[in-house]
Every structure is written in C-alpha cells, then in structure tokens.
Symmetry: C2
C-alpha cells in the first residue's frame, strides 16, 4: 500500500477567475503583497502494491482520463511508502 | 518576491462525498486498487518581500480567515524563494 498525492494546476496562460476572486478578497481583508493567485486541486489516496513505477504509470493514466483536463491543466504525482 | 503554495485538505473523519464519487468513477473506469480518495484544494501565489517567517505568519492568517475552514480542514504552507 502506497500513499499518493496528485496536484492539478491550471496551465500558464489559462484564465483563473476563481484565483482572481480570492486575490480580490485577500486585498479587501487587508492582506497585501499577494499576487498571481491560482487555485488548483489536490487528490490524496492510497493505491495497492509496492511497485512505485507501476503505480506512477497507473496514476498518470488516471490523471489523463479523469482527474485532470490536460488541455488546460498540468498534473504532478507524488508517491510515498 | 517569494512563491507560496497552500494545500488545504479535509480533516480525518470529515466525510468527503466528492472523493467517494471520484473513487467510484475510477473503479468504473477499471482503475483498481485505489482507496480512501480525498479531494482538497491548492492555492499558488506570489508574496512580496524576502522575510520567510513574516510571510509564513501572514499566510497562516490568510488561511484562518479565508482560504481554509479550520473547523473541518487542515492547511499546509510551502514557501520557496
């Protein structure tokens, strides 16, 4: 059993209205000096087995099919034992 | 200018229907061996200054006031120069 984390972020150049809204809210709460806010998603899960390379390959397929929209999003995979 | 990443995750014991839905979808796509799927949020942004300790303290306040619901969510802060 391994623990995995997938972080899905918007690609550079893709507009992020949600991030802009958060940036506006932070400014109105007097949190200054914060810029370029981008919101993404994180998925934590457990995956059976001990073969990290096989797990990484399966998780990559999971990202491409379900977890990320690869047209506008990047994904990063972290695995820990 | 420092880069910061905040990762907000549900606390243990808090139900995550969205995570369960993703787990079901993965199973129906024949991705086996995946369990305990939990979805969280990630915020990437830039913050002015070079004092990492001051930045961390400001970001903690930002999490407590806006980015996380500390009743049901944990947050982790990463800062890089």
């Amino acid at each position: 059993m391994m623990k995995a984390r997938v972080i899905v972020t918007l690609k550079n150049g893709v507009l992020d209205p949600q991030g802009q809204a958060i940036e506006g809210s932070l400014a109105s709460l007097s949190f200054g000096g914060v810029s370029n806010v981008r919101q993404g998603k994180v998925f934590d899960f457990e995956i059976e087995g001990t073969d990290e390379q096989a797990a990484r390959s399966q998780i990559k397929a999971m990202c491409e099919k379900l977890l990320a929209n690869t047209v506008i999003e990047n994904f990063a995979i972290e695995i820990s034992h």
